[in-house]
Amino acid sequence: MAVLVLADHDGSAVTQPTRSAVAAASKLGDVTVLVLGPRTAADSAAKVAGVAKVLHTEDVLYANGLAEPLAALLVAMAPEYSHLLAPASAAGKNVMPRLAALLDVQVISDIADVVDADTFVRPIYAGNALATVKSADPKKVITVRAASFDPAAAEGGSAAVEAAPKGEDPGLSNFLGAEIAKSERPELTAAKVVVSGGRAMGSAENFHIIESVADKLGAAVGASRAAVDAGYAPNDHQVGQTGKIVAPDLYIAVGISGAIQHLAGMKDSKVIVAINKDEEAPIFSVADYGLVGDLFKVMPEFESELAKK
């Protein structure tokens, strides 16, 4: 039976976490991708390696990702699919459990591996344990931890794009507006390099120290919860158990102590660098390269050293 992936897109192309969900779905059957939005996003999905079919609609009902109409649409589409997946993004985590309950199945959140059609691995307790779970439900509803699956290639596919079915509007909620930050930097969950700052940054102004090093490295900017709570960085920068899960080639933690909730979001990075003035900081126990020092001295030096070839 076919497998459905609900895509996230940025207005023009499907996101990298969506391609990771496609990679997970490819292990389960023929992949159909549902794209709600502009035609260009559907065309980008059609090019993703391993995608057999794209279903597309520009219906304004889905323009703002409201969970109620979207779950209703997915319920109507569900009979044709054995598995329904979405990236474990804010959007995917919002709608997939709602869909699962409407189908009377238990959602399987944030999978990190596919064992077989019924069996999946998922982290629990902030990633301190990995549970292998087998679902007895007739249909599986899943969110996919993007950092755990190499994304399917953006090019190489040539799927047909067809019209998605029309769904009902339950009329329960209204979208009022959004403040979405526009950034020239790469997206946190897709970046090859991430530079994150913690409470030690001391102020939003000081966070520019992180940003200018990130710009030298073409990196995304992340933050600890303490830095976000203190207003030094926006909420969508939070890395951790309850923020974003990242696994870049290089993660640089600056003035971050390394609480388990933070480690949960970054400990699968390939190379970890920690810069902290406390040589006992727990972050050093996961760091490949540790530098003990005052960040306000180290970071400007780091920036000028990067500028040298």
Binding site: E68, R122, L130, D236, L250, V286
Partner: protein
């Protein structure tokens, strides 16, 4: 407005959990248990709505073993009015919890249910959305602001790129994110007062709910351990290593 707040008993967030030697789960014997941190935020939000005059009554509900009474008492000490314990030993998945809560809601008719966005033990991030689905109610997940407005509620949500605002009809489901508020500590007099507040005990069978799990845990393992690497002596050395040894920049 009547409020219902589901609170889960979980391993305290400061505990470093250990996987059991037989790989059936994690060690929970003799481990400090607490209210799920996101549920403390939910209780706090409910109490603030009541203090503002927007809510009349707060009911705290927990599903699980008898010991969940402790977490209900904490909610009562923070300002909830009464508690309901749905007593069950054994695994309760989000779908089962949502069904139990739906049955309680049928009896209590709250206008707003505030849950945590995620339980820090199973990390499912599902119960609120599942409950909203079963009830056919709107959902405002990952809330960083909740305001009664225009006969419904306005919810500001933390999403991937920033924030978004929704208007929900009532009754509705809200799930809390970390920055919604900072939960208070219960004062000693309030802890004493909470002892007199009523807790009703129900069983899943009283509510006519089948709570059989849908997922079988085949094994629980420790993730691969990361080895601590080396300390570098200078920024120059760090950059040299990143360029020539790790080859990541």
């Amino acid at each position: 407005m009547k409020l219902l707040v589901p609170v889960k008993r979980v391993v305290d967030y400061n505990v470093k959990v250990r996987v059991k030697a037989d790989h059936t789960g994690v060690e929970t014997a003799n481990v400090k248990m607490s209210m799920n941190p996101f549920d403390e935020i939910a209780v706090e939000e409910a109490v603030r709505l009541k203090e503002k005059g927007a809510a009349t009554e707060i009911i705290a509900v927990s599903a699980g073993p008898t010991a969940c009474q402790e977490q209900i008492r904490t909610a009562l000490a923070m300002g909830a009015d009464r508690g309901i314990l749905i007593e069950h030993d054994g695994i309760l998945e989000p779908l089962a919890v949502a069904k139990l809560l739906k049955a309680v809601i049928a009896k209590e008719s709250p206008d707003l249910v505030i849950l945590g966005k995620q339980a820090i033990d199973d990390d499912m991030n599902a119960t609120g959305q599942m409950l909203a689905a079963l009830l056919g109610w709107p959902q405002g997940t990952y809330a960083s602001k909740v305001e009664p407005a225009d006969g419904g509620i306005k919810v500001t949500r933390e999403v991937d790129g920033g924030l978004e605002r929704l208007q929900l009809k009532l009754p509705a489901i809200v799930t809390t994110d970390l920055r919604l508020n900072e939960p208070r500590y219960a004062s000693l007099p309030n802890i004493m007062k909470a002892r007199k507040k009523p807790i009703e005990t129900l069983k899943p069978a009283d509510l006519g709910v089948d709570v059989s799990p849908r997922l079988t845990v085949l094994k629980v393992e420790e993730p691969p351990k990361r080895q601590a690497g080396k300390k570098v002596g200078s920024v120059q050395e760090l950059v040299e290593k990143l360029r020539n040894e790790a080859k990541v920049i």
